[in-house]
Amino acid sequence: MKLFLYLGNLLLFTLFSSSVANAGVFFAIAPAIITIDTDNGSTRPLVADIRLAYEIEKHQLELAVMSSINEDKLNQLTVGIPSITSIFYRYSPYYEDRLKIHLILGTSQIDVDSSYPNTVDATDSFEGVSFGIGVEEAFVSIPNLKIKLDWIQLYRGDQLNINALSLGLRYEF
């Protein structure tokens, strides 16, 4: 968690000390489906995904914070996501006019709440490599406002993977 605070502070510091031309600050909000995949079943809680990013040319640094909107159930198993905190580096290998494609690499901490009959409710925490791909397109009438779609594998483990699929809006200040 200290790492996230450190990187978060670093991002904020960078945002306010930037003197580079063609730099921008983004704010994004989206609902995201988090898929917790195991060999024997999946659960898909829904989260609110809030991002703050700083962009310079083809590079972006992004801080993401997510929290449950809806828990998901697999028979008697209830799964929720109290929090996900991520730092992403996004690189745009392709952009044309209003369209941008991002390769995403970062690190995430995911807390997962679970409850099941006859067991004590638990919160499991996962930290690890995140990677994915994103695409965004600016609106013609409001070029600062973009619609974006991200697929990110937040955590890749031995027996379970946690993925996020979010569709939302990004605004460039």
Binding site: L10, T14, S18, T43, D124
Partner: protein
């Protein structure tokens, strides 16, 4: 400081963290919960009827685990994702399927089964007591009707080195060695009413007709070193079969099943089962496949009947086309004698089976019509060149004759040249009298009388072929 300056620092920090941070050890809880939740299981236990808590050294036993579903409270046997283990230092072993092999030493061990986050354990004693003899046919009294099968758990007497007696189910090292004797109660002769067979360490009583029988078990006593014969076990076989019918083997709805397909091509096989209707303990009707305990027959040699390897169905193979055969099945005392039959292999006659005035016997029949083997395609050559149905073949050099060779491909993937078969007809649709003329003396041969295109239609057993031939200089 600006973003460009600190970016490499951020990336390096990120990657160092990424490679170090991974919480694979935290996955267990969530993975286990998904295993249990996926099958909706909220508790597990060992089935009380099947479990053995005392086993002989070197014996084997297959443990099973059942789980209770939360929605329906139904108990189901769990076959996947069960982790089996034994207490530490056990000389016995257990594999991933719950197959337990007792060690060579007496010991008390704990068998653990884990399904998801749920864990169940049972204490097992591995005993060095030696088998003496079978003292009970089954660990519980049971009733059985004719043409039924009943798994039995014989109970044996074991004696340990201190002379202490143990009465428990006969273990796997002994059960396969038992010779079972079955006699009629009234005349004391070897009975053809029932037999006991053992497979996969499980003995089963299989009945063919009603009546009272005496069962004995002969097995080598590890105490005396002699083959010991048990006392007589009396068993009654009821005549509570209410109905018998024939069905297709593919039918799963045994209540409403019938024989849908009574047409059989020569050299092909169809499979039938016999279904018996009994009265269940709650008064309802119980339908079951009784093929392995039924007596089967056929009225002629137009078809051949054999029981499948597991005796769960009768395979009928057509021999003579355009004929029929009546398959008969009976349960109980039939008119035909089975004195010389080895009933352990199933009872199949080469003649019809029938009941004697329907006393303690029910029978059913079905006529099977045997047709010729279906033709799936025709293959044709013209002057040794392959023809394709409906596609033109050019024969240059103005040959004097066109010779067709026709081969029929049958539904069992065999083929046969049928050029001269009387059922094959040749019809010239185009070019008759201008390009070719049929040679009336030789089937499949045509005399070329001019240049142009000839079209010949071949018909055989419902299959057609258009031979299109262009004759050029």
């Amino acid at each position: 400081m600006n973003f460009k300056n600190i970016l490499p620092l951020i990336l390096v920090t990120l990657f160092v963290c990424l490679t170090a941070c991974s919480d694979k050890e935290n996955e267990t809880n969530l993975v286990n919960l998904h295993i249990a939740a996926e099958q909706d299981i909220i508790s597990i236990n060992f089935p009380t009827d099947d479990i053995e808590t005392v086993l002989s050294i070197n014996s084997v036993f297959d443990f099973s685990l059942q789980g209770q579903k939360s929605q329906t409270q139904e108990l189901v046997t769990l076959t996947e994702n069960v982790k089996w283990s034994l207490s530490e230092n056990a000389s016995s072993s257990i594999d991933k399927n719950g197959h337990f092999i007792a060690g060579a030493n007496a010991e008390i061990i704990t068998v653990n089964a884990q399904f998801g986050h749920l864990v169940e354990s049972i204490e097992i004693r591995i005993s060095s007591a030696l088998f003496d003899r079978v003292i009970e046919l089954n660990d519980d009294v049971f009733s059985i009707e004719m043409c039924q099968s009943q798994d039995i758990k014989p109970v044996g007497r074991y004696v340990d080195e201190d002379g202490n007696e143990e009465i428990r189910s006969v273990d796997s090292t002994i059960i396969n060695t038992i010779e079972w004797l079955v006699r009629n109660q009234e005349d004391n002769i070897e009975s053809q009413r029932a037999h006991i067979e053992t497979s996969n360490n499980q003995a089963a009583l299989r009945t063919l007709s009603s009546g009272n029988i005496i069962i004995q078990a002969k097995a080598l006593s590890k105490i005396t070193g002699n083959v010991e014969t048990s006392v007589d076990f009396d068993q009654q076989i009821g005549n509570g079969l209410n109905n018998i019918k024939l069905c297709d083997s593919s039918d799963t709805d045994l209540l409403n099943c019938i024989v849908d397909t009574t047409d059989l091509e020569k050299d092909k096989t169809l499979s039938l089962i016999s279904v018996g209707t009994y009265q269940a303990t709650d008064g309802s009707s119980l339908n079951s496949n009784i093929s392995n305990n039924s007596k089967w027959g056929i009225d002629n040699t137009n078809a051949t009947i054999t029981l499948s390897g597991d005796r769960q169905q009768l395979d009928v193979t057509g021999n003579s086309e355009n004929t029929s055969a009546i398959i008969s099945v009976a349960c109980g005392d039939i008119v035909q004698s089975i004195a010389n039959k080895d009933i352990t292999k199933g009872v199949v006659f080469e003649s019809s089976v029938s009941c004697d005035n329907n006393i303690d016997c029910l029978a059913a029949t079905e006529e099977i019509k045997i047709s010729s083997l279906a033709v799936t395609s025709l293959e044709v050559t013209a002057n040794s060149q392959d023809l394709t149905d409906g596609q033109s073949l050019t024969l240059s050099g103005s040959p004097a004759e066109i010779t067709l060779v026709v081969t029929a491909v049958f539904s069992n993937n065999t083929s046969k040249v049928i050029t001269e078969d009387s059922k094959l007809s040749y019809s010239i649709l185009q070019g008759n009298g201008t390009v070719i003329e049929e040679n009336e003396d030789v089937d499949g041969e045509f005399t070329v009388i001019g240049l142009g295109t000839a079209e010949i239609k071949l018909d055989f057993e419902g299959e057609s072929f258009i031979a299109l031939i262009r004759v050029t200089q």
